[in-house]
Symmetry: D3
Subunit: 138 residues, 6 copies
């Protein structure tokens, strides 16, 4: 029976964002999102951990070359998000609130199209060292 192994690659990006629901007024947004609804944005050093599950190649011993994985993340996620304003500079959060939950889901959907479907894919996103997210949940 083939042995499944999970490989992980950690990357990071720095971005600004603002949390708010457009149809709510400022008072309601501040009540729900607190300081995170500051209209002039705030920001984070996001740490991103991508997990791939698959069977190691019997010759190379690699599930997938982590350099290849790192390049895919760089080109499809970091080049779009790093040193950007997530609300203004990306297409993903025009109508979707850029909570850590939604950022993780978007990153999953972006990468799912780029990673061979024979591999399972999971995203862990640290907004701060103390607040983080995993998607999907097994």
């Amino acid at each position: 029976m083939d042995k499944k192994v999970a490989i992980f690659r950690k990357e990071h990006f720095n971005a600004a964002h603002r949390l708010f629901v457009p149809e709510w007024d400022d008072a309601k947004n501040e009540e729900v999102f607190g300081k995170c609804s500051n209209p002039n944005y705030h920001g984070h050093n996001y740490d991103l951990v991508i997990k791939i599950v698959g069977v190691p190649d019997p010759k190379t011993g690699y599930v997938m070359n982590l350099k290849t994985l790192s390049d895919i993340i760089q080109e499809n996620v970091l080049d779009k998000f790093d040193h950007k304003n997530l609300n203004l500079d990306t297409t993903y959060f025009k109508k979707l609130n850029p909570t850590a939950e939604n950022i993780a889901i978007i990153i999953y959907e972006i990468l799912r199209e780029k990673i061979d479907s024979k591999f399972d894919l999971f995203v862990r996103l640290y907004e701060t060292e103390r607040n983080f997210i995993e998607y999907p949940v097994k």
Copy 2:
């Protein structure tokens, strides 16, 4: 289909404890628990990671406001355990040995009553950077 996301909040507390079985003599306790059975107690900086699994609210993008989760942990766990002697100052470890396993189970049971039952709940407890616990196990 609804998308389940796991959110994590990391908190910490500093406490003293002693591991021992009352019906055993000192020699037996030292044999089993080593330095951890010191009658005058020792202590730890415990790091506590609470994991909640649920579906993000389509409007806010939050599974649960992490500030709300942090407040629940503060009021129900940290206010009881932080800067306390777990054996003497809490009601939970009068007859139960305060191993990391048991502390994690107790924290789970405390929080399970405070967290909406639509959410799955998991506890990770670091006694030291090198010794840690997860409960429950999926």
Copy 3:
């Protein structure tokens, strides 16, 4: 002879900023500041370590109560900078570029007025885990 001890307190804040020189055009700003000159801002989880040097009180054994120090940092730095846009939401960086160097100098100048002059004061500011600053230099 009195024994001098250094005490350190680590705090953090999340903020957005943009690096640029107003009298330069966009091309020149991008050449010098790269992605950091993005007009829509980006952001960081800043870690701030404040160092105080003084002689411990012979009775309490404290150079200064770290809780007091934490409150001073909270009121004078974090309440102004956390979840803010450093360029737009603070008075300090209207004409001063919010590089990590300048943020550290400003934090020093703010705290120097609030910390008893019998104590030496030093600021360490992490913009990321890999880029950080100390001011002043002994």
Copy 4:
């Protein structure tokens, strides 16, 4: 019903290794493994996290004494791998490429024989802070 708890113990070792497939020429090995195929070896500080799942003893509150677990890891893994050349100084990687995937599988197979079969066993291996592996996958 018995409550299952996962306990974790983190250890580390420092080792040299080289990645290559013997039947490939140098150009092919460099194409696949990059700098990791350097014939004179390079090395890592490996962090190893062993996870054991079981039911805490009702008297001691321990799933397993972490000191006992640490001793088993020391004797069966660290004494063989620490400050060693994985390709030359161990018997495991004579024909098997010492990728992080394969090292994790080997460590699992070594420990599986030493850990009581009533416990589930999992291995997490950090080759660097940013590249890591888990085996087996639930």
Copy 5:
């Protein structure tokens, strides 16, 4: 001219303590030391970093063998403090308040007698990740 190099060794110990001034009443102690004056003690995972400054031996390239330094710290500090109650189980804090400042000074004084006087010696003590101390100050 000889080149001075600083070498650092990080160790850790887990201990319980209580902060209070015996001639003060409980209200005064709680006012000054807050939760740290809990009569039943609390505890910490202390991280200890010892810094030695000297000239590397031209043959070995060592200022001092870090294994030797580690053994000296183990025998003279860790064996006395690890898994102990600093107030009750050691001789040093019978009349001296075990603040991080005083613990660092005591560790310095213990080690200064054991480390060759040709080396400069410095102590850094982390009580928590966010509260730490250095002694002496250059």
Copy 6:
């Protein structure tokens, strides 16, 4: 008066090495260097922190662009040391024992020629999380 600021940049490299004095026999080398004298080499993930002290440019607010500093470290240190055998693949440790002390001194000497002499330069090198070095010492 100009305000001096210290800027830090953290990089890392993975390398193999062996500690030994060629004119000593194996027994003597093992007595002094222990497991570090293993003839087949072992390795480390070295973390390197470079500190530059200077006065921020009044217009840009930079002491030195950290991207420029990072590029200098990459080209002059990492390209030579990363994924290499320090004893065999570099010119620096043919006659010099690659202790952390000597690696730090060599990195200082390499970078001192590449960094403008108006800046002070300091090297911190982590061989492991628990063993590290600083050179020069102020």
